[in-house]
Amino acid sequence: MEGLITVPEPVFLAQQVLNGLSFGALLFLLASGLTLVFGLMRIVNMAHGAFYMLGGYIGVVIATLTGNLLIAVIAAIVAVGVTAFLVEVVLLRFVRGQEMPEVLLTIGVSFVIADLCLAFFGGDPQNLPNSVRIPGALAVGDLVYPWYRIFVIGLAVAIGVALALVQSRTRVGAIVRAGVDDREIISAMGVNIRWVFTGMFVVGAALAAIGGTIGAGMQSILPGVQNEVLLYALVVIIIGGLGSVPGAAVGSVLIGLIDAFAKAWIPELAYFTIFLPMALVLVFRPTGLFGKAA
């Protein structure tokens, strides 16, 4: 840590806090989709990391071609959304309501997507080209921090607020909330819950795709990344409580900060430090911080 020697301590702290928040923002994009899908459909989508990966690769390719981040994000959303739609309609519907086969099926899907990504995009780490990233850095006194990462934090906050508003203020949100509480009643009231499920699955995957494209500007997309991000997302939603979006937000920030400081101070135990809070939560509050009692 040469930063520790040359830069005064408060600046280092501020930098790590910002690192933690921006990584937490990325985690929130991932975990919110995962937790929303679980809340409604009771599926832990193990292909979520693969959706992130696919979104990242497509985002990088389109961003390199067009030089426009917005087009890249939209392309990634469309591609991953279509993939998720097919997975839901062609595969998951056949095992609806059977917890374990559903999860195992998504594991198989993750396997296939990750391997096909390797076939199409190769094994080299890929990043967003510099041209599409927001240039420059924020400078406050001695603190210098890239604008792009601050943009990621802003985006995650915006998406979080949007999700909360849609859930609490719109008709679609009301249908989803009703579906979480009681599927039978909502379908008896004339809502086709199957398509609500499909829609939610696609929205969850789209959030992963946004995370993948935006995240490719912070950390490389490469084979194996699907498992790593899935793991972080799982830890976040276990801590926050499965199905809870506020829980995902709190869990993301917590894990983001812990991870940033752990990587700076005790890099040898980097993974260990995110499992400690998870283990503690599991032991003392198995439903997570914001989870409803089963």
């Binding site: 594991i107 198989g108 799982l234 040898e268 135990l269 993974y271 499992f275």
Partner: protein, 361 residues
């Protein structure tokens, strides 16, 4: 509430097939396979083939440990590769410190018990999806330690040059050793599955609340089951590291654990021969087919998806079903197929009740 229904259904779809005559057929098949396996090095199989057979047997041992938990306890673990890797790293570390193979075994055993206890402790409160996620997370923790704690584990390069006992040096003696361990481990797991302990586990799988109200300590049963399963997994880890003389972080990775699940589901959850069949298919796809087909993981993934969609009972389970159906058809007219009542699934508490009922006092 809807969660409860889901859980019960899951259990039904993944439970083992009824065990009566099937078991006998299994034993006969197993004896036949055993003879074939013993004869393998004498049938002109090349060193490569015998070594591949060892790989299959090691994978099958590991898959059996996953199968034990999934079949009896309904606990699908996505982190068993981590236990095997902990054991393998234990042996590797001991070998690096210049210890002899005997000490390697001891260190590996210690690591195995430690890892299994950690897994069990964290997962014993959970079931179903939560169990899967917790085991996945602990597995990744071990992967992370193997990867980052490079002062002990050698980081990405792993530890190489791990030597087994001298009397196991040649590839075919080692093959027989692996075969012996596999047979013993399978037999041990089979005995435990058919003991009152196994019956209680199946009771917990089918209804945790019922077993709790009967006075069973569900958590200690789960922990115990994990320790048993973990011990077998650790054994497989030691066998693997002696086989390849090498251990690296990828042996603890999620992909390995997923492969194990694929083996178990492919072969048939809760069946005796399932893990061996599944391991044979997966290892052969991985080692033989991979030289012809670049995209073998895709192929494996597709096979896995198809099995879950269409042949939930796996290869061994489906074969058993087919066998029973044929049998039932051949004597369709004579008598309706009757299952042995109660039998294996009755918890020891029931036996007690019967006993007390008979008592004149």
């Amino acid at each position: 509430m809807s969660n409860r229904i889901v859980e019960t259904r899951t259990v039904r779809t993944f439970g083992p097939p009824r065990r009566d005559r099937v078991q006998l057929t299994n034993m006969a098949l197993l004896a036949l396979l055993l003879v074939a396996a013993i004869a393998l090095p004498y049938l002109g199989a090349s060193g490569f083939m015998v070594s591949l057979a060892s790989t299959i047997l090691i994978a099958a041992t590991l898959a059996s440990s996953v199968n034990f938990l999934a079949g009896n306890g309904g606990m699908v673990s996505l982190g068993h590769a981590g236990i095997a890797a902990a054991s393998a790293y234990g042996a590797g570390w001991a070998s690096q410190q210049g210890m002899d193979p005997g000490m390697q075994v001891l260190v590996a055993l210690g690591m195995t018990l430690l890892a299994s206890f950690l897994y069990g402790l964290l997962s014993m409160r959970t079931s179903g999806i939560y169990f899967l996620m917790v085991t996945l997370a602990v597995g990744m923790l071990i992967y992370g330690l193997a990867f980052r704690l490079s002062s002990v584990t050698g980081g990405e390069n792993g530890i190489s040059g791990i030597e087994r006992f001298e009397w196991l040096d040649s590839y075919w003696t080692y093959y027989y050793f692996v075969l012996g361990v596999f047979v013993l481990a399978t037999a041990a797991l089979w005995i435990v599955s058919n003991s009152p302990f196994g019956a209680s586990l199946r009771g917990i799988r089918d209804s945790e609340s019922r077993m709790r109200s009967l006075g069973y300590s569900v958590r200690s049963y789960k922990l115990g089951a994990f320790m048993i399963s973990g011990s077998v997994a650790g054994l497989a880890g030691l066998l693997a590291v002696w086989h390849t003389h090498f251990v690296s972080p990828s042996s603890a990775g999620v992909d390995r654990s997923v492969h194990l699940i694929v083996m178990v589901i492919l072969g048939g959850v809760g069946t005796l021969l399932g893990p061996l069949i599944g391991a044979a298919v997966v290892v052969m796809v991985e080692n033989l087919l991979s030289s012809y087909v670049d995209r073998w993981p895709t192929l494996l993934g597709l096979i896995f998806i198809l099995v879950i969609l269409f042949a939930r009972a796996g290869i061994a389970g489906s074969a058993g079903k087919l066998f029973r159906r044929l049998r039932a058809r051949s004597k369709a007219a004579s008598s309706p197929e009757g299952d042995a009542p109660g039998g294996a699934a009755a918890p020891p508490g029931d036996r007690h009740a019967v006993h007390q009922g008979k008592d004149p006092q």
